[in-house]
């Protein structure tokens, strides 16, 4: 290790070493494992593990050409893909591939993050809901979010009054320093939209009373509740002036709301000798906070050939069954890992891929996997040439909570 290596290590330790694990946290987790009837993978059965995904977003089925037939079974009226067909025993000499099920989502090895997902479903705005007035609202700047070189300094708004109101479109935004000097502004029809806005047109956003207050010691409590609104703020200025407050002049002559804005402009460091981009301030339209995450109960079923040949790519099928009461919209698109667990690891680590979600949503009625419905995905895995003998093919869906997992025994025959 040289001095340069040491410098990065020093920076990282200085940034993070102040945080210590909570005392007793290991005991708590072990206790959960001991008492909460968590599933242990066995040779035949696993628990129906609920999956907390995100929103259930109906998407238009048109425009994505995926052949999938949907039938009904399980008695719940859900749309289901035909389950994989099971073939006779394949030859030992020339193992047969698994026959394809009648309907499935084709294999597509996408890296995580490929699927853009859908936009959150806003709470419906009842007719006659009045525009929000500034004195009804409370606002907070809620941190820093970066993506692909863009920086977002979003603002969250909540309704602190007793009656619902709505926001639509854009506020005029002005940023001030502690002395009240105007540092930047985005007003009228200019400087609308930011890198983080998927649409430049704002739909009505319902602000419901009763969401938690925004301010707390850590600055994050009370954020992210349905009935709140957000707007993205992108402020670029290489001189990085320090702000103190942001003034939002609400549409529909709703008055001025002043929000603490203890942030510096982003600018990639101090102004240098090369030409820097002109200082800009952009703001997005009002957006709804998504409804809370729904807990799903997904089950994975795996159908794999019993015998495979080393050095080949093996196709198998995973069927996700929605055993819970909530329709599942594959949004955000979950990732999965697949692997072979034999006498010794055949891969140094998990292979993380993303489900082929876009055609899945397009193929499903309303874009969602209804309660009781199932959907089959084609999967593929490379069998190393050096592998042989009994192996276990495992497949795990990754998401935000308990996750379906499944495995199947396969026998790997020597490479041809």
């Amino acid at each position: 290790m040289n001095g340069r290596d040491h410098e990065l290590r020093r920076l990282l330790h200085r940034a993070f070493d102040g945080e210590q694990p909570r005392p007793g946290v290991v005991d708590d987790i072990v206790q959960k494992a001991r008492t909460s009837a968590l599933p242990r993978p066995t040779s035949r059965r696993l628990r129906a593990a609920p999956l907390a995904g995100a929103l259930v977003i109906p998407l238009a089925a048109a425009g994505v050409a995926v052949a999938i037939g949907l039938t009904h079974h399980r008695g719940t009226g859900g749309n289901v893909a035909n389950p994989p067909h099971v073939s006779p025993t394949p030859s030992l000499v020339n193992p047969s591939p698994l026959p394809a099920p009648a309907h499935y989502i084709p294999w597509n090895p996408l890296p995580p993050g490929s699927d853009a997902g859908a936009t959150p479903t806003p709470l419906p705005v009842p007719p006659g809901t009045p525009p929000c007035r500034a004195n009804q609202l409370e606002g907070a700047q809620v941190g820093f979010f970066g993506a692909t070189g863009n920086d977002d300094l979003p603002i969250v708004l909540r309704n602190r009054s007793a009656s619902a109101c709505m926001l639509m479109g854009y506020a005029d935004l002005r940023i001030y320093d502690a002395s009240g000097r105007l540092l930047a502004q985005a007003v009228g029809t200019t400087h609308r939209g930011t890198f983080f806005d998927s649409s430049s047109t704002g739909a009505p956003v319902l602000l419901q009373p009763g969401t938690p207050a925004l301010q707390s010691s850590d600055g994050t409590h009370g954020l992210g509740f349905p009935g709140q609104a957000t707007l993205n703020v992108q402020w670029v200025d290489c001189s990085q002036p320090q702000a103190h407050s942001a003034a939002l002049d609400l549409p529909s002559a709703g008055g001025r709301l002043v929000v603490p804005f203890d942030r510096a402009a982003t600018g990639g460091g101090a102004c240098g000798p090369t030409p820097e981009p002109a200082p800009t301030l952009g703001r997005g339209p009002f957006n709804p906070i998504a409804p809370p995450e729904v807990v799903y109960s997904l089950v994975a079923e795996i159908a794999a050939p019993g015998q495979v040949r080393a050095g080949t790519a093996v196709t198998y099928y995973v069927t996700l069954v929605n055993n819970g009461p909530n329709a599942y919209g594959f949004d955000p698109c979950p990732a999965f890992d697949e692997g072979l667990a034999g006498v010794k690891p055949v891969k140094p680590g998990p292979t993380l891929l993303e489900l082929n979600c876009a055609p899945a949503r397009a193929a499903l009625t309303g874009g969602v996997l209804a309660a009781g419905a199932s959907l089959t995905f084609e999967m593929r895995i490379d069998i190393p040439r050096t592998l042989h003998g009994p192996q276990r093919l495992s497949w795990n869906l990754l998401g935000t909570a308990d996750l379906p997992t499944a495995d199947a025994s396969i026998k790997v025959l020597p490479a041809a």
């Binding site: 410098e7 990282l12 070493d17 102040g18 066995t42 994050t220 990732a335």
Partner: protein, 189 residues
């Protein structure tokens, strides 16, 4: 013979007597590697609360998959890979679910660290890396893991890890304004 593999279904199984050893192994794994997992998640996600949640969820994932761990000597990498996957999944939530990411350090961080510009700068700089770049930087320069183990955790080759580190360090240097000062010997021997 075709096997229609494991089917998760009705009900679930309480750990039985045979699982007592599994529970002890699980507890041992956590006691040995929880702090590394927490530090990985904290530096990856930038939020203590998010990190604690991610590691707890990853731990329970590990408990469910404990039978898949065949090589006890590789348990740290196996566990950290699950933690990394959890962190990736957390990052892929809607942005309002990850707002604490790169926010100012919590008061619990301590005045000394919170008040230093370089502490904030490195957090922000890490936040500008891709998930995979951030992961290898943290594993190499914060947890001090060897390249081979990082490759195991990330499911890639050592060469890929080195290349990813190289790109990440160049980007960190641009962000931090420390051109040519970070970790060069690690990735470009």
């Amino acid at each position: 013979m075709i096997s229609v593999g494991v089917i998760a279904g009705e009900g679930f199984e309480m750990p039985d007597a045979a699982d007592a050893g599994g529970l002890a192994a699980f507890e041992g794994l956590l006691r040995s590697h929880y702090e590394a997992a927490f530090r990985l998640a904290l530096s990856f996600l930038g939020s203590r609360a998010e990190a604690e949640d991610a590691v707890q969820e990853a731990s329970l994932d590990a408990w469910r998959r404990l039978s898949q761990l065949r090589d006890a000597a590789a348990e740290r990498g196996w566990f950290l890979a699950i933690v990394a996957n959890r962190c990736r999944a957390t990052r892929r939530r809607r942005w309002w679910s990850v707002l604490p990411l790169l926010a100012s350090p919590s008061p619990a961080l301590g005045a000394a660290a919170a008040s230093t510009d370089d502490s904030l700068d490195v957090r922000r700089a890490l936040g500008r890396l891709s998930d995979e770049q951030r992961l290898v930087v943290v594993l190499r320069f914060y947890l001090d893991l060897p390249h081979a183990e990082i490759a195991a955790i990330t499911g890639s080759s050592e060469e890929a890890v080195r290349a990813r580190l190289h790109r990440a360090l160049r980007r960190l240097e641009r962000t931090l304004g420390t051109s040519g000062e970070l970790g060069e010997s690690e990735v470009m021997p």
